[in-house]
């Protein structure tokens, strides 16, 4: 998978727990163009093990001199956000993938409702540059914990004017999804990026109101779930890999030198799908890609987030 060699030009402390990193190409060339909502996957060497974390590109899509990502220091970090906060400083070299967009604004939408929770604001910031440029009708609803956690509030007020609405938890103001979605004209699309329960609640409300699935878009950057250790055999290459409890199957295979395909690393896009040859136990599907039927058939697995409770799983790779 081709990657870009970048170095950190600047690090800015946005809030107590959020840092903003400016990335430029090592070779000084402009970076590839990207569309609003895109993300890149950053590779980090942490104590000899490679971690790969996706981060949304926040900058304007018109800017190809630098990429801008923001990282929230997670309490239960598997190491990625901790590394970014503690080990990365101006001058640090990083490897990133080319931008990928799994959270694009619909070209046939007449109105766009953007909903952000906490650090979930990041993908919307690049989308807003596109929405403003195209003169689209949109609203941004941004919920965050308290004034100290208001990342980018001033910038958003400047970019969006009265199209942005803030909801501060500590003031007691809450978003009412049912109210928000009940009075939208035909052709409205809703986009949400935030903590899992918030995304889940939005999907549920939209569905109950009769919004079709293709008008509801979400992006979640969750760490792959942990579990029991198990062994996976790659049938074609003959390699046998032990998947530790705190590593995803994809990460373990990469660690062993294999190069399985991947894209979102979050169980949403389908790129990493592997054919299951055999499993002497249970497949634990943690993805949002396979249908319930496909999951019960047990012929496929998404190694980026799914696991197995077994002694040996054989995949066709």
């Amino acid at each position: 998978m081709s990657t870009l060699n970048v170095k950190v030009a600047e690090v800015e402390q946005i809030t107590e727990v959020v840092k903003h990193f400016t990335l430029v190409q090592e070779n000084g060339e402009p970076l590839p163009r990207f569309s609003g909502g895109s993300h890149v996957v950053v590779s980090m060497d942490i104590n000899g093990r490679i971690h790969r974390n996706p981060y949304s590109l926040m900058g304007s899509t018109a800017n190809t001199d630098s990429y801008h990502i923001s990282v929230r220091k997670q309490e239960n970090s598997r190491g990625g956000s901790k590394f970014m906060h503690e080990q990365v400083e101006p001058g640090t070299s990083l490897q990133i993938t080319y931008p990928v967009n799994l959270f694009a604004i619909s070209k046939v939408g007449r109105r766009h409702i953007l909903i952000a929770g906490g650090i979930g604001i990041t993908p919307f910031m690049s989308q807003i540059s596109d929405l403003n440029r195209l003169g689209e009708d949109y609203e941004l609803h941004y919920a965050y914990r308290s004034a100290e956690h208001a990342a980018f509030r001033t910038q958003l007020e400047e970019m969006c004017g009265d199209r942005v609405h803030f909801y501060v938890d500590s003031d007691g103001s809450r978003m009412d999804f049912r109210d928000l979605l009940s009075h939208q004209p035909l052709g409205t699309h809703v986009y949400i990026c935030g903590p899992e329960p918030m995304v889940h609640a939005l999907h549920h409300t939209a569905e109950s109101l009769g919004w079709p699935d293709n008008h509801v878009h979400s992006e979640e950057f969750t760490a792959p779930p942990v579990g029991d250790e198990f062994t996976v055999e790659l049938a074609q290459s003959g390699i046998t890999v032990t998947v530790p409890g705190d590593m995803s199957m994809l990460e373990a295979m990469e660690e062993a030198g294999a190069e399985p395909p991947f894209l979102c690393r979050g169980g949403a896009c389908g790129r990493c799908e592997l054919e299951v040859v055999s499993c002497d136990g249970l497949l634990m599907h943690n993805d949002h890609y396979l249908s319930d039927h496909e999951k019960s058939e047990g012929k496929s697995i998404m190694p980026c987030v799914s696991r197995a409770k077994c002694s040996k799983l054989v995949v066709n790779l």
């Binding site: 046939v108 979605l181 009940s182 939208q184 109101l209 009769g210 919004w211």
Partner: protein
């Protein structure tokens, strides 16, 4: 036996069934689509408000407006023609909200004329239930003169725009709401196969 060919763009139609999760429902039908409407109202009705736009095909032997009137308590608007149904639809769409479920029934040309209006409001093809009613007559787009003939029953059709004899293909354009018609004797002028009524 010849198996014909499968083409991805050929639409497959539904049998109208109420959607359970909605903010409102809108049924748009004409002519033989009246039967589809009656089948719909034989199902237990949803709780949300229902709007129904219907026009009989005055030239047809069977008229459904009266039966529909007796079965549908409110929300019904009976129009004089399918064009009047489309005008009524145009008037109501600006006020429709997300969560409105759409159901269309009638000829293929009518279905896609309705879709044309819905698409302007950002409603996507796959989200609309469509029941083809009464006839397999096809709207055909002549790729040569760009004319569309709306009511074609035969495999070879003489274009009313340019006079060319067109082979009616299964390839369908959702944007145009019509099947592709290509000159059948382009390479051997005058060698025109017999037209068969395969879209009665």
């Amino acid at each position: 036996m010849e198996r014909g060919y499968w083409i991805r763009s050929k639409p497959l139609y539904d049998s109208l069934v109420w959607r359970t999760k909605a903010t409102g429902h809108m049924v748009i039908a004409e002519g033989e689509g009246g039967i589809a409407v009656l089948k719909l109202f034989q199902q237990m009705c949803p709780r949300e408000p229902i709007k129904l736009l219907f026009a009989d095909n005055k030239a047809a032997s069977k008229q459904y407006a009266d039966i529909i009137r007796s079965l549908v308590p409110e929300g019904l608007q009976v129009c004089e023609s399918d064009e009047a149904v489309l005008s009524a639809l145009k008037e109501q769409l600006p006020d429709c909200l997300m969560g409105t479920q759409f159901y269309v029934a009638g000829t293929e040309a009518f279905i896609w004329a309705v879709m044309d209006e819905l698409r302007k409001y950002g409603v996507q093809d796959k989200n609309v239930e469509k029941e083809l009613s009464g006839t397999l007559a096809r709207p055909v787009y002549c790729v040569h003169c760009k004319n569309i003939d709306k009511d074609v029953h035969h495999s070879i059709h003489q274009c009313s725009g340019c006079g060319r004899h067109l082979f009616v293909r299964d390839h369908f354009s959702r944007r145009l709401g019509a099947y592709m018609g290509v000159m059948v004797d382009a390479e051997e002028p005058g060698n025109i196969p017999a037209a068969e009524e395969i879209y009665p």
